[in-house]
């Protein structure tokens, strides 16, 4: 007989929604036993607790708002008739939703790792002493299950294979979650110190979802889908809307803000400061400038600033003019300071326009027979274009 199911779904508005599904005789015919609510409460509690730590980390000198716990809470949205399908959602109060989402991701990742026998993800929001306590609380998830009952835990809504929590699988997970040797201090996996990092950074991709209610969006990048918030800067909403489309058809867009990295990969924009459409000509140099726009911080042997939009835009204007004049196309290079170097170099001489990150043009030429090069600076792009085109015409 197929076991009746109760299915719990996370808020479907979240781009990375999640399902939890309970199976077993006791959930038959749409019944939701009271003791199964404890499982939901446990899940809610660990998410809430982690969200509190996240909030405190961002507000070290402030008291937790009185409404924090009330607003970071689960609700059962729906129990579908006949199948005991329960729709479960975190309330989406914009004021704390980013902490809630961060915490939920960390809880989900810990559950998934524990049941896969994989190293548990680090919990950088928690002080080291609280990590073991948090994991032990998470170990209680599924404690009400009996034989022939299970919780199917969907970390992502599109997962076809959920994390299966049963009496048997919990045994393995408990060994992962509960520190059995109290002589060993709780610790994160090797290398965890650099797992989470925040810095001002830009990412290139296509905006595929915008949720104005929770001030969130999603951008499809070369690293996968990255979510972001713009709560601190709602002025970018119109910019986000203007570039919103599918991953196949949307315009290439560069988003800049405080980006969190997890395991070295971009994870979330904690804050968003700029949304810029990336539009370069369909030429070899246009493709090159597009590549430059995607360089991450540290691209030059561990250093190297991201290439500024000001310099990319100026480079495009200059290269278009050079091409239109029928001049030989130069070499185009990113500079570690965040600018663009446009350079004609032959064995008889060097001629270059270096565009600094703030848009200043450095004009330079040196004939090989000369000892010294001729150098000047300008902020006038017309002058830079004249220099670039005249010298090689």
């Amino acid at each position: 007989m197929t076991a009746p199911t109760i299915r719990f779904m996370d808020d479907q508005r979240r781009p990375s929604g999640k399902r939890i599904r309970l199976t077993g005789e006791r959930f038959k015919a749409g019944r939701l036993p009271v003791d199964s609510l404890i499982e939901l409460e446990r899940y809610q509690e660990v998410v809430r607790k982690l969200a509190e730590y996240e909030w405190r980390r961002d507000h070290p000198d402030e008291q937790l708002p009185a409404d924090f716990r009330a607003l970071v809470s689960l609700t059962i949205e729906r129990i579908d008739e006949g199948s005991a399908d329960v729709l479960l959602a975190f309330e989406q109060h914009a004021v704390y939703v980013q902490y809630q989402d961060e915490a939920q991701d960390a809880v989900d990742a810990t559950i998934a790792a524990a049941y896969a026998g994989a190293p548990l993800p680090p919990l950088p929001a928690l002080p080291p002493a609280a990590v073991a306590e948090f994991r032990e609380e998470l170990a209680d998830f599924g404690a009400t299950l009996r034989e022939a009952q299970s919780i199917e835990f969907y970390v992502n809504p599109d997962d076809t294979t959920p994390v299966l929590i049963t009496v048997e699988t919990r045994k393995q997970a408990l060994t992962e979650l509960i520190l059995t040797d109290f002589m060993i201090a709780p610790s994160d996996p090797v290398g965890s110190a650099d797992i989470i990092e925040r810095r001002e950074e830009s990412l290139i991709g296509r905006v595929t979802a915008v949720d104005a209610d929770s001030t969130k969006y999603e951008i499809a990048t070369a690293y996968g889908k990255v979510h972001g918030w713009y709560k601190e800067n709602t002025g970018v909403l119109e910019d986000l809307r203007s570039v919103l489309n599918s991953a196949e058809e949307g315009p290439l867009t560069r988003i800049t803000g405080e980006l969190r990295f997890k395991n070295g990969d971009p994870h979330r924009f904690w804050q968003t400061t700029r949304v810029e459409r990336v539009e370069f000509e369909d030429t070899a140099w246009g493709a090159r400038l597009t590549d430059f726009a995607q360089l991450p911080t540290g691209w030059a042997e561990g250093t190297g600033a991201q290439i500024s939009f000001v310099s990319l835009d100026a480079a495009q204007q200059l290269l278009k003019a050079v091409e239109a004049a029928g001049n030989p196309l130069p070499g185009v290079f990113p500079t570690a300071e965040g600018g663009v170097l446009i350079e004609w170099a032959t064995t008889s001489g060097i001629h270059s326009v270096e565009i600094l990150e703030d848009g200043l043009f450095e004009l330079f030429s040196l004939q090989r027979a000369q000892g010294e090069g001729v150098h000047s600076e300008t902020r006038d792009i017309s002058e830079a274009i004249r220099f670039a085109t005249a010298a090689r015409a």
């Binding site: 360089l295 030059a300 190297g304 070499g331 170099a345 090069g373 150098h375």
Partner: protein
């Protein structure tokens, strides 16, 4: 050019054999097709005006390339180009061998490490110097080496 103020730290030495080659590793962002940027022969910000080269008396070009690629895997070396010490001196600068300088416990340095000294130069002077070095390196041409083999590879795989 400015007056040369030679600064040697402990265990550093001035390279004086004008014929000795010093190898420079060329990475992807220094190239546009077949053209090499003049910046390839100048310092990055992290170099603190002391761009790295390797002494030909102390290391083979292939070994220098392999060391770079294995230790800086995000910026693998795609080619090796070279200058002669005398060419740097003709450009009114000098090359300093710092391969014997004691390293911090967490630091690493390429075998046979040396650097062209850009310290104290203005931006125009740097551009002049790196351009003059570019002329010499391009005139000499690429130093033949092979792509660095990965662990367990018997032959190099062309990058896709």
């Amino acid at each position: 050019m400015t007056t040369v103020d030679l600064e040697l730290r402990e265990d550093e030495s001035l390279m004086s054999d004008a014929d000795e080659l010093i190898y420079r590793q060329i990475t992807a962002h220094m190239m546009d097709g077949n053209q090499i940027a003049t910046t390839a022969f100048g310092p990055m910000p992290a170099d603190r005006d002391m761009p790295s080269f390797s002494r030909s008396r102390l290391v083979e070009p292939q070994d220098a390339r392999d060391w770079h690629t294995r230790n800086l895997p995000r910026s693998p070396s795609l080619a090796v180009w070279a200058l002669a010490v005398g060419e740097v001196i003709e450009a009114e600068r000098y090359v300093i061998d710092d391969s014997a300088v004691t390293l911090d416990a967490n630091s690493k340095r390429a075998p046979g490490h040396c650097f062209v000294d850009y310290r104290g130069l203005s931006r125009p002077e740097r551009k002049t110097l790196r351009s003059q070095l570019w002329f010499r390196a391009v005139e000499r041409g690429e130093i033949p080496t092979n792509a660095t083999l990965g662990d367990g590879e018997m032959f190099a795989v062309a990058p896709s």
